[in-house]
Symmetry: C2
Subunit: 433 residues, 2 copies
């Protein structure tokens, strides 16, 4: 048995104990972790500094980008938010041990569907060390064990954060020490993906290539999202007073976010009188606008958007505009080229809104609001494990609810199946919850 296999097996054993911890214990652990990190701010900063020194060289060599460097850096504000985040998770409702549904099968034979932790979760993320306390606190609250693999650029910071968290766990006798585990290398990841015997879910938090790599190399269920190709469709009945404002916000408020808009679909009837104004507003906000042939008839200076553009997540202040002949044309475009993340209709017509929301096959379907609202915190989920564009288990921004599943508990009083199978007894099937 390799070290990693042993680690995963230990995590599995820990997960059984974790699943039966009460809320008070889990909350006490969370508060203690927050305090521990607060008391050790200086040492965390020092270790982060070691990472930053290495990263600075890589930045100077062009091996990493400025944005990676910035994400790696833990300043006072990020430290405060990171610690506050743990206390916020403590305040969330415990998602475990909830009776979700119940059915009386017969007298003295009651069935309950009760929420429980998933078990062992592998999380792969990039160079943002603040992910460690976030994932650990969500895992603790939901009673899951985790195997964490962070970006190598954050090595020293990840090690000290994990050490401080594990030191805290050590102070709680009933808390299993193997709940939290840190992996280090790419080879660890490759090995982890094979451990379907012990690991129940993999969450890759990173770009499309990471997610595809993970899906291709594991039998373990994967929760992640690939691209974020989000659309805004401006319907003929749209309130044009703030349509441009929504488009500008959706593109520029944080252009590299996965919920930023990439393609704006404009109803045919708005091309002549509204499209030029929309483009003007976008350009005022320093957005580069590309347009389809039809759009360029009305705004000739636009760079031509081709079929490739419809599948492109620009990740910067570029957006494409495309004319559509009606709402069904818009929906068809989105269902073909979209990534199932978040798509929006601007319309004052309730029927059009309903049609759009029912037929667009995306995790988020919005009416008259910026796509940038697609986020666990903004949704009020309290915290976000990640965003899922899958169609099973959990979809969209995923909070604690995505880290639990359920089990069926059947409370009998000596019943056997034979008399029900023979027709001598019949089930009553009376819903309790």
């Amino acid at each position: 048995m390799t070290n990693l296999e042993q680690m995963a097996q230990n995590a599995k054993l820990a997960s059984y104990t974790l699943s039966s911890l009460n809320t008070l214990t889990k909350d006490s652990v969370l508060l203690a972790i927050a305090d521990k990190l607060e008391q050790n701010k200086d040492i965390i900063m020092q270790e982060n500094q070691r990472d930053l020194e290495e990263a600075k060289k890589m930045l100077d060599d062009g091996a990493i980008s400025l944005s990676v460097f910035n994400r790696l850096k833990l300043d006072e504000n990020k430290m405060r938010d990171m610690i506050q985040g743990i206390r916020d998770v403590k305040r969330l409702e415990d998602p475990v041990n909830k009776k979700l549904w119940a059915m009386g099968l017969d007298t003295g034979l009651d069935l309950y569907r009760v929420s429980c932790p998933i078990g062992v979760i592998g999380v792969i993320f990039e160079a943002r060390p603040d992910v460690i306390p976030q994932i650990c606190s969500l895992a603790i609250k939901s009673g899951n064990a985790v195997l964490l693999k962070g970006g190598k650029e954050a090595y020293y910071t990840n090690v000290i954060l994990t050490k401080l968290i594990k030191d805290t766990l050590n102070e709680f006798e009933q808390f299993p020490q193997n709940a939290i585990n840190l992996l280090f290398t790419r080879d660890d990841v490759a090995q982890m993906l094979k451990l379907d015997k012990y690991i129940d879910l993999i969450i890759p938090r990173g770009g499309n290539s990471l997610v595809q790599y993970v899906k291709e190399n594991t039998k373990i269920p994967v929760m992640g999202h690939s691209d974020g190709i989000c659309h805004i469709y401006i319907d003929e009945t749209a309130d044009l007073k703030n349509a441009a404002e929504i488009c500008v916000d959706a593109k520029t408020q944080y252009p590299s976010a996965c919920n930023a808009v990439e393609t704006i679909l404009v109803h045919e009837s708005l091309l002549e009188n509204y499209l030029p104004q929309l483009v003007l507003e976008l350009e005022k906000a320093k957005v580069t606008v590309k347009g389809c042939e039809r759009c360029r008839e009305f705004v000739p200076h636009l760079e031509l958007a081709t079929k490739d553009d419809w599948s492109t997540e620009y990740g910067d202040k570029t957006v494409s505009v495309k004319a559509v002949k009606d709402i069904f044309d818009a929906i068809a475009h989105i269902n073909v080229y979209g990534s199932g993340h978040t798509d929006c209709i601007l319309s004052q017509d309730q029927q059009s809104i309903d049609v759009f929301m029912n037929l667009v096959d995306s995790a988020g379907v919005f009416a008259n609001a910026s796509t940038r609202f697609a986020d666990g915190y903004r949704y009020g989920l309290g915290a976000e494990v990640g965003i899922s564009t899958a169609k099973t288990h959990a979809r969209g921004p995923v909070g604690l609810e995505g880290l639990v599943i359920y089990k069926y508990k059947l409370f009998g009083s000596g019943q056997i199946v034979a008399p029900y199978a023979d027709g001598k007894k019949t089930f009553i099937h009376q819903r309790i919850i």
Copy 2:
């Protein structure tokens, strides 16, 4: 584009329309299918006869077993149950378009989590032609498109059933014809597993080797179960009056079912005075009992059960008995050797029952009832798509609820994210549902 890829793409397009059909339309289609099959009983029987003639040769050659042959055969009773099954699904509550959760983010900005179909589901099953109407009716009710691959032994029966169902769909103008699709070969399955662009979920209904093959060859989420290694633990406080009766039922009522018991764990304190009686009762019911070394001290004639037995799904009237020193020993055994399907404690002590139910990591944890109750119909789910031993999406017997996911619908009135990000506006996050 291959034919199969085209079929999957068409199924995807059909799935968008399916997702917005109302309950009345779906129910009318279901009743019409039931009527159509009833009117065409004779022709279905004729085609089934063709399959049976081929199968009879294979049976004589020993290429298939008698149980496969029997499952293939559609008699009057099975035909009636099959048609009744469709009408039963019609009566189930529509699982689509349910508001599961809702949050007011701010005035005029309301978020709803609403259930919706998964999309396109691939189902692979063995030689039981009655699966086709069952899966089709569940798919129609839940608004999913399906690609079905049945056993080749049921070729003619599968073809006629699918044809009659598709003929019925044709009579409903608003119903997409490509909702139901039949595949024929192993190569079709291999191709289907690659179509993660169009297919959202694969349900393999078959043995462990099929499930493993599917998991190894696809990036699409898989819902299935591998083995059914179920346990009964007889606690020292068990009501011994009917403990043997429960064990006999769990083993013999249908020995090849996945929810039949394979290993009975007996508390140390019961070995001397109860184990011999238990073995006697099992043997009276023609069960072959194998025992661990410790058990053989008290019942010497038992064949020795070794480590391999703890991982064996006998599938016949064989059971192993093993002594455990306490409930934690029993739980540890189950979590190592069990398959996460269904495990039972016989005990009169509520605390022991709670400990067992919380710590045993299985889809079904039972107290004082036969493991054979683990079944969608018996659970009152109305119908069963399959049984899942996975830890995500759906677990245990899966009814209609396992064929839906949710989307987030955000109803705004022109909101943008910038003022919330700047702190000029704050979210109210008021739960609506």
